[in-house]
């Protein structure tokens, strides 16, 4: 049977992708950001996952205002990196485990999570940046070392799904994955955050104390984290900090008791606090 071995929480700042794509990760500004992923890349190699279930949000790239699904599951064979206005990232297309994705889609709806099924979808930095930071540089003509099942969450138009809903969706995703008959090693990613506000006069807001508490809750009290209100996210972590509800989907798919094997926090990457955590399911 397929099994979720671990969860990864990770920011997906677009400038991090640009830094990797333009080869400036050694510069003073970027060094401390990437330093924190050194251990993660070694860990990823050791884990050698067959499939990554990757929770992220689209930034008005694949989805425009015509259609705004709250949860959209990628079920197509592959997903091309999108042109977000400055050309597509020079990274490989993302390949799906299509059979497993279909199984998950069916299982989720029968478990009363009425997701949208995407058979055609381009993916933006929200999905490719976490893969890049965790796997390191992969050439455009190469291949990502794992298959990826994308789950795209609306966090752009208010309201995003509640933390509680996300946490419970994580549990349903786990049931779906772990009822799939092939023996597969699966890692789930929750991406986005941490505190940041990209817009209007309060842009640049960072709340490190809050972010660090959130990382603590990820390890120690996920149910507590799932009860954080939208107002608290918006006020305390900036209008775009609400992306952190996506970490709760990842957390819901893990055991209540987990082992934190790595944590990284750095300010700034462009406008954003970079947060990262690796949680292993206790046997």
């Amino acid at each position: 049977m397929a099994k979720i071995m671990a969860g990864v929480g990770c920011s997906h700042v677009p400038a991090i992708g640009v830094a990797m794509d333009t080869g400036i990760t050694h510069e003073e500004y970027w060094k401390p950001v990437f330093e924190g992923f050194k251990k993660s890349r070694v860990w990823m190699k050791k884990q050698n996952p067959d499939v990554i279930f990757l929770v992220y949000n689209d930034h008005c790239t694949a989805f425009d205002a015509r259609c705004i699904p709250t949860f959209a599951l990628g079920c197509g064979a592959e997903f091309q990196p999108a042109d977000e206005g400055w050309g597509p990232r020079p990274v490989p297309a993302v390949k799906n485990h299509q059979k497993m994705a279909s199984h998950i889609a069916q299982s989720l709806v029968l478990n009363e999570f009425d997701i949208t099924i995407m058979n055609e979808m381009e993916v933006d930095h929200g999905l490719t940046v976490p893969l890049s930071v965790m796997f390191g540089d992969i050439k455009q003509n190469g291949e990502w070392p794992a298959l990826v099942i994308p789950l795209c969450v609306n966090v752009v138009q208010y309201p995003a799904p509640t933390g509680n809903r996300c946490y419970n969706l994580g549990k349903a995703i786990r049931r779906a994955i772990e009822s799939y008959e092939e023996d597969l090693n699966v890692i789930i990613f929750g991406t986005g955050g941490m505190s940041h506000q990209l817009q209007y006069k309060r842009a640049g807001l960072i709340n490190s104390d809050w972010d660090k508490r959130f990382l603590d809750l990820m390890t120690q009290d996920p149910v507590g984290a799932s009860q954080i209100t939208h107002l608290e996210y918006l006020r305390e972590t900036g209008s775009e900090g609400i992306e952190m509800v996506m970490w709760l989907i990842m957390r819901g798919a893990l055991n209540e008791n987990v082992t934190e094997v790595h944590r990284h926090y750095h300010v700034p990457a462009s406008n954003t606090a970079v947060g990262h955590i690796i949680l292993e399911n206790n046997a």
Binding site: A65, Q157, Y200
Partner: protein, 130 residues
């Protein structure tokens, strides 16, 4: 209109269903600039390109004048307006430098020092606003 709980947060426009409705055509114009062929057409003749999008006069003017904050007030969302900014060669950080009125250099400096503190930035009353 009834007051929303997040209206008290200073310097912040929450892109909710009302904003989304108001900004629909503006945002659809912005996202069209994601594609090179559309960027080329827009850059060749902005006014003619905008004719295809039935936005309000105010929104159209704000696009032409690149009034980044006004665009958000009129229903634009940052992930959309950033496509217009990208077309002008302005990245997210430089756009924030403009929207905050700080300018690019002092904004970048603030971020390097840990960003804008949450203290004094939770409630409009702290900004001397209602």
């Amino acid at each position: 209109m009834t007051e929303k709980e997040y209206d008290k947060i200073p310097g912040t426009i929450v892109f909710d269903a009302d904003k989304s409705r108001e900004g629909y055509h503006l945002n659809q114009f912005c996202i069209s600039l994601r594609l090179q062929k559309n960027r080329d057409a827009f850059n060749k003749n902005e006014e003619a390109y905008l004719d295809a999008y039935p936005m309000s006069k105010e929104q159209r003017e704000a696009v032409l004048k690149r009034e980044w904050n006004l665009l958000l007030e009129l229903g634009g969302n940052i992930y959309y307006t950033s496509k217009l900014a990208a077309n002008d060669g302005i990245n997210f950080q430089n756009l924030a430098g403009r929207m905050t009125g700080m300018g690019v250099d002092s904004y970048r400096e603030m971020m390097l020092k840990g960003g804008r503190s949450i203290e004094g930035n939770r409630d409009k009353s702290e900004w001397g606003e209602d």
